[in-house]
Amino acid sequence: MELRADFPLLANNPGLHYLDSAATSQKPQVVLDALRDFYETANANPHRGVYSLSVRATECYHQSRARIAEFLGVRDSDCLIFTRGTTEGLNLVAWSWGMANVEAGDEIVVTGLDHHANFVPWQVLAMRKGAKFRICELTPDGRIDLDFLSGLLNERTKVVAFNHVSNALGTINPIAEIARLVREKADAILVCDGAQSAPHFPVSFDSLGVDFYAFSGHKMLGPMGIGGLIGKREMLEEMPPYQTGGDMIEFVHDERTTWNILPLKFEAGTPNAANAVGLAAAVEYLDNIGMDRVLSHERALMSAAQKRLAAIEGLHIYGPPPSERSGVLSFTLGDVHPHDIATILDGEGVCIRAGHHCAQPLMRRLDVTATARASFYVYNDESDIDALVAGILKAREIFGYVPV
């Protein structure tokens, strides 16, 4: 694939090797154009106006929802709630479903692999409700330990939260198996953090077998500040609203308020129609590539990178083998701290992430304070791997090789 030219930031900086797409992705021209086009031809407050411009804004907003729902395999697009991103989607479920349904003595299960966004909200809910907060441990190579999970599940389990793909290690979790286990042994909701799956391979919510799925637009070529929560209709209908205010109400009486229908019930305030339009353009762009090709492209880069990095003395790669990983490569290099690696790579134009990747529970389990992480996306190619390898060798050179 030769897509770099579609991405203005990359096209304008030929020496830049952006390998931090797991944090956020770059944006293709078509997305920036769609954003601008909305503001220049359709900008008005959706839902609230009788005049044509507002009707157009409303249509843009609804069509974007339908387009994104189609991309993620949601037949009933009213079940796709726009949020600011994954974090807000998960907080919405934890607060709205959790406060209404979890009680003292109930159990909430997360995993040692989860991002803070799918860990802390549940920890807080458990503390608030006096529920038990249980953490599913991992196999040594960073996979969810299914036996351990099975042992955790029981009739008091009310929530099982996990990520589809780990942002820190790239582990692709066996969602169908997890769902089967949970359905068999517990009567719990299954909450899937899809921040790292929606961007990288075909996802069809309707056949995932989970109850909720959250994702972020900015990680899948879309603008910042937009994402979504998908839920099963029967659950969304029973849940109380999350934020309240304009658009999500039906009638506001002095004493009480009735709620609008889905999806508006969960979308208080002026919707971010512009960014919904931008995200719709992003999924259109991804569909034009084909999500299967996105996956195979990343896989190819991944195994090439894995091979070359593994050959560097002192370099240790975390997580399962590349065939069970999405486009994330998490590593350490002898006693060179990941921050130093990242700084030296920056000197070579290579952008990687160093730190705990918002996964401190995982870092403890790996017994590291930080790792260096390179992550790939559609615009990356072999030259990025060359630069990554060269940069790592440079770091070794500066620090001298010291085995640990």
Partner: protein, 148 residues
């Protein structure tokens, strides 16, 4: 303007002296009977510094540090312990301020006489994401002095 660093800036950052302090830290370990003991962490990277200080009146008679972290944070800690040992707290405060100013890029080069080896860290000022690393040990020392 390129959004990436030049190799020259990287060279200026990783001076020999920094790598030397990283690899062979001075005053690493623990004091037997510290007057003040502090642990602080950099939540961004999980780096942690433990610092133990013994006082003689208003002077620091001895200090040792422990912890894990990047070259910048550990070299900064190591150099700091060398520099402040035996000094009076007012002098330490002055050095700390001077070093902070160096890190946020607001001193001119000539002003930093009393920083001694710490001047090797001057390259950090150009790396805002790393300034916190260089200041970690100094923040620990400030807390330790406040405990006294």
């Amino acid at each position: 303007m390129s959004p990436a660093r030049s190799s020259a800036e990287i060279g200026a950052l990783y001076q020999e002296m920094i790598l030397d302090h990283y690899r062979r830290p001075r005053n690493k370990g623990t004091l037997e009977n510290p007057d003040a003991s502090v642990e602080i962490k950099n939540p961004l990277c999980g780096d942690e510094i433990g610092l133990q200080v013994a006082f003689d009146g208003d002077s620091v008679s001895d200090l040792k540090f422990s912890g894990r972290g990047c070259s910048i944070s550990l070299a900064s800690a190591s150099m700091m312990t060398q520099l402040v040992k035996g000094k009076h707290r007012t002098e330490i405060d002055a050095i700390r301020n001077e070093f902070r100013n160096l890190m946020i890029g607001s001193n001119s080069a000539g002003e930093n006489d009393r920083l001694g080896s710490l001047r090797a860290l001057s390259g950090v000022a150009r790396f805002p994401a790393r300034v916190k690393c260089a200041l970690l040990a100094w923040n620990a020392l400030e807390s330790a002095l406040a405990l006294k």
